[in-house]
């Protein structure tokens, strides 16, 4: 365990316009991409809001065959991976493909295609013994989420270890943690790592309806997701992908690569308590934060910014606020804490990587993105949530956290290249 892992390329397909810079510009302006769902007719649903990507796979540069064989989630990942590769300046022909790995975080696989194809082969739910005659040839790639890693590996020319990390809504952080481990242990020099999900479709929307976890501000979609605000009423589903080129530090230096940040520490913990519930005392997320700081050998009071999970449910916001206080002590009150989910929604397995992208860009650009729609203080959530407007700040250490079904909590610590000696 000697290698150090740095991010040298970032690609993003987030709600709104695709691309890293479009994403960054949107979130620092505090603009929201939440709107009435257009991917299907949401009329019969309890929550009819989503944060959707304005994404045209052909315009985004995918080939006809790529489009045909991939789900929307795979398309996001391909576009983000190519942007990350281009951004890093890595020349795949100059690299040993055996030393390039892939880890793709994902929550619900190729969910839209699974559902669309189900409707066809079951004749819209009429047949339990579904009709093979209507089977699409790529159906097997939809049922397995691992096809997402296959696509990214092909795009990156990777022949090292490749996998999909699928720990629900923590997958976007855990996939980066997995990549860091591959680099530290010396298995790979470069890992194309990130996450993707495209869950905005009837079955997933129904699930969150049934759980009463999604926002019902159907008349005001732009302001529907209100993390940490007293009037919050649930999460808004999102979609998208963020992919990174994560590289061993010396490898990056040798080729003169631009370094966004180091992934200095990572940790995952489970609550061992409930598949969807969180303890109000913030214990498990606090433990994940502490363990990530320990791995990074960073003191809690060195953190300059916490990029929050901030899903906009009362349960999360209180758990998370308590977690910062448990793990950072009084320092929790001194740092900005913001949730970009207010703008890009909750894209399940992908959001952890999209938030890492925001955190890395925050370090790079010296700017803390805001929490949009934060207006009314909740007495139980009394930290500085950066309401509405971005802030300039020198950021040396940024924490990003996630929490998800299955009882998982993860935390990652990113540090500025200034700290690399």
């Amino acid at each position: 365990m000697t290698g150090r892992a740095v991010i040298t390329g970032i690609g993003v397909v987030a709600p709104g316009q695709p691309g890293r810079e479009a994403f960054w510009e949107m979130i620092v302006k505090g603009k929201t991409a939440t709107r009435r769902i257009t991917l299907f007719d949401p009329t019969p649903f309890r929550s009819r809001i989503g944060a959707e990507c304005d994404f045209d796979p052909e315009r985004a540069g995918l080939s006809y065959q790529e489009i045909r064989r991939t789900d929307r989630a795979g398309q996001f990942a391909l576009v983000a991976a190519r942007e990350a590769m281009a951004d890093s300046g890595l020349d795949p022909d100059a690299e040993d493909p055996h030393r390039i790995g892939v880890s793709v975080g994902n929550g619900v696989g190729n969910a839209i295609s699974m559902e669309q194809e189900y409707r066809t082969v079951s004749d819209n739910g009429r047949q339990w013994l579904v009709d093979q005659g209507y089977m699409k040839p790529h159906l097997y790639s939809y049922v397995m989420s691992s096809s997402l890693a296959t696509e990214v590996a092909w795009a990156a020319g990777a022949e090292g270890p490749a996998t999909v990390v699928s720990s629900g809504c923590c997958a976007g952080i855990d996939a980066v943690g997995y990549a860091v481990d591959l680099i530290r242990e010396g298995t790979a020099d470069v890992v194309v790592a990130g996450a993707t999900d495209a869950p905005i479709y009837p079955i997933t929307v129904s699930c969150f309806d049934t759980l009463r976890a999604s926002s019902t501000s159907n008349d005001d979609p732009e302001h529907a997701c209100r993390p940490f605000d007293r009037r919050r009423n649930g999460l808004v589903l999102g979609e998208g992908s963020a992919v990174f080129v994560i590289e061993e530090l010396e490898h990056a230096r040798r080729r003169g690569a631009r370094i966004y940040c180091e992934v200095a520490g990572y940790s995952a913990r489970a609550n061992g308590y409930h598949m969807t519930g969180l303890r109000p005392d913030g214990r498990e997320m606090g433990e994940a934060i502490t363990a990530a700081l320990d791995e990074a050998r960073i003191n809690p009071d060195e953190i300059d910014y916490a990029n929050a999970h901030g899903s906009g449910t009362k349960q999360n916001d209180r758990h998370e606020t308590a977690a910062y206080k448990r793990s950072l002590g009084e320092h929790a009150y001194r740092i900005p804490v913001s949730s970009i989910k207010s703008m890009v929604g909750h894209s399940l397995g992908s959001i952890g990587s999209i938030e890492i992208a925001a955190s890395a860009l925050a370090i790079d650009r010296g700017t803390v993105p805001p929490t949009a729609n934060y207006e009314e203080r909740d007495p139980e959530c009394d930290l500085d949530y950066v309401p509405g407007t971005a802030r300039e700040a020198d950021l040396d250490v940024v924490l990003s956290v996630g929490s998800g079904f299955g009882g998982f909590q993860s935390a990652v610590v990113l540090t500025s290249p200034r700290r690399i000696v």
Binding site: W128, M144, G157, Y273, E295, G404
Partner: protein, 403 residues
């Protein structure tokens, strides 16, 4: 850290629903393949599968947990109970943060999902049940095991189709190296609902042979594809030092080496990555090919893929130089559960000093493999190599070594 070792094993397989029943059936060459019974398969070209027929989830978990889970997770409940008992682990004796769960999954809870999709499209969104949110996704099994057994350390879920069952052992090794003391690892899958089967049909690799005894015959000149199965295996993995300190009754094997590779993008003309995975895993274990006493092959049953694997094996070991076996000829390919089950077979082979057979296979001499067929072969075994390939380009190899 000292080397990770397997100290507990639990199994649910088509030819045996606990470890010893399955192992005895495996040594006896008793296959669990048969005509699909979950539904009438007559309308499909594929009619043979390895079903865990007769499995009663209520024997292994409270009804409440059975209601909120798919079969894939229920198999893991059973296998975990058996593995923990086998390793004499009482979770209360450990700090909850010192234990973790890392499982592989491939198709998710597809039968549960098909039922809820049917409700959605026949009856509307309000008919979808609350448990859909926690039963269908790939992380369901790890989450449920973590909660049920109070294991709060760094949990994980990996999906690399069949290869995932080996990748999780490497991830277990990583978290042990960082200080976790005990990991539940392995994989289970259950993909045999009608929609699940049709999804699999689309990959073009399933056998359309209707005679169970001829349907899945890897390395045979009649090989015509594979048979899907369900079930898997769960392990208790801990460091050798910790296992000794606990005074465990049995250490099955050390996870001595591991490697994963990915095949070149189609069209590059470069060779597939299985051979490299095997060689890297041996190097990781600081062993050489002659040290290997048995290979548990991936055995896809697809002629071209059998040829590639045979070439990889003869390139690493020389023609016929090492006994090779494919006990999954008796279970079918269990996806994420399949490689895990092969690890279980390798561990028990080391325990009992016997190589379980491949059944129904008449080895094609062109492959130049010493395939152990029909009857078990008793021999001195110290080191086993387990190979696995996952659809889409994934390769993984694990070296197990007696300690």
């Amino acid at each position: 850290m000292s080397v990770p070792v397997i100290t507990g094993l639990g199994v649910v397989a088509p030819n045996g629903q606990d470890r010893e029943a399955w192992w005895q059936a495996t040594l006896d060459g008793k296959s669990g393949l048969g005509r699909i019974s979950r539904f009438d398969p007559d309308r499909y070209p594929v009619r043979v599968a390895g079903e865990a027929t007769g499995f009663d989830p209520a024997e292994h978990a409270p009804q409440r947990l059975v209601s909120e889970t798919d079969a894939m997770t229920q198999y893991a409940f059973a296998a975990t109970n058996e593995a923990l008992a086998d390793a004499a682990v009482v979770p209360d004796d450990f700090s909850d943060l010192d234990m973790a769960v890392i499982t592989a999954n491939s198709s998710g809870g597809v039968e549960f999902g098909q039922r809820e999709l049917q409700k959605l499209y026949r009856e509307g969104p309000q008919a979808v049940g609350a448990y859909m949110s926690i039963a269908w996704f790939y992380a369901a099994t790890t989450g449920q095991l973590s909660i049920r057994h109070g294991m709060r350390g760094p949990c994980g879920v990996l999906c690399s189709e069949q290869a995932g069952g080996l990748d999780v052992l490497a991830q277990a090794r990583r978290v042990l190296a960082k200080g976790t003391r005990l990991v539940l690892s392995g994989g289970t899958d259950a993909s045999l609902s009608p929609y699940g089967l049709v999804c699999q049909l689309s990959n073009g690799r399933l056998s359309e042979e209707h005679r169970p005894e001829r349907a899945y015959v890897p390395f045979d000149s009649d090989a015509s594809g594979y048979v899907p199965g369900e079930g898997g295996a769960i392990f208790v993995v801990e460091s050798h030092d910790d296992a000794r300190a606990r005074d465990v009754e049995r250490i099955y094997a050390a996870v001595a080496g591991y490697a994963a590779t990915f095949d070149p993008r189609p069209g590059t003309g470069r060779p597939p990555g299985l051979r490299r995975a095997a060689e890297l895993a041996l190097a990781d274990a600081s062993l050489a090919p002659p040290d290997v006493d048995v290979v548990f092959a991936d055995g896809y049953g697809v002629p071209e893929l059998d040829r590639q694997e045979a070439e990889a094996l003869t390139a690493v070991f020389g023609p016929g130089a090492v006994p090779v076996t494919v006990p999954k000829t008796m279970t079918g390919r269990l996806y994420a559960g399949g490689a895990a089950l092969d690890v279980a077979a390798a561990a028990l082979a080391l325990r009992d000093q016997v190589i379980p057979p491949s059944v129904n296979v008449r080895p094609d001499p062109e492959h130049r493999l010493d395939l152990v067929v029909d009857r078990p072969r008793e021999t001195r075994l110290r080191t086993a190599l387990v190979l696995s390939r996952g659809y889409g380009g994934f390769n993984a190899a694990v070296v197990l070594r007696a300690v």
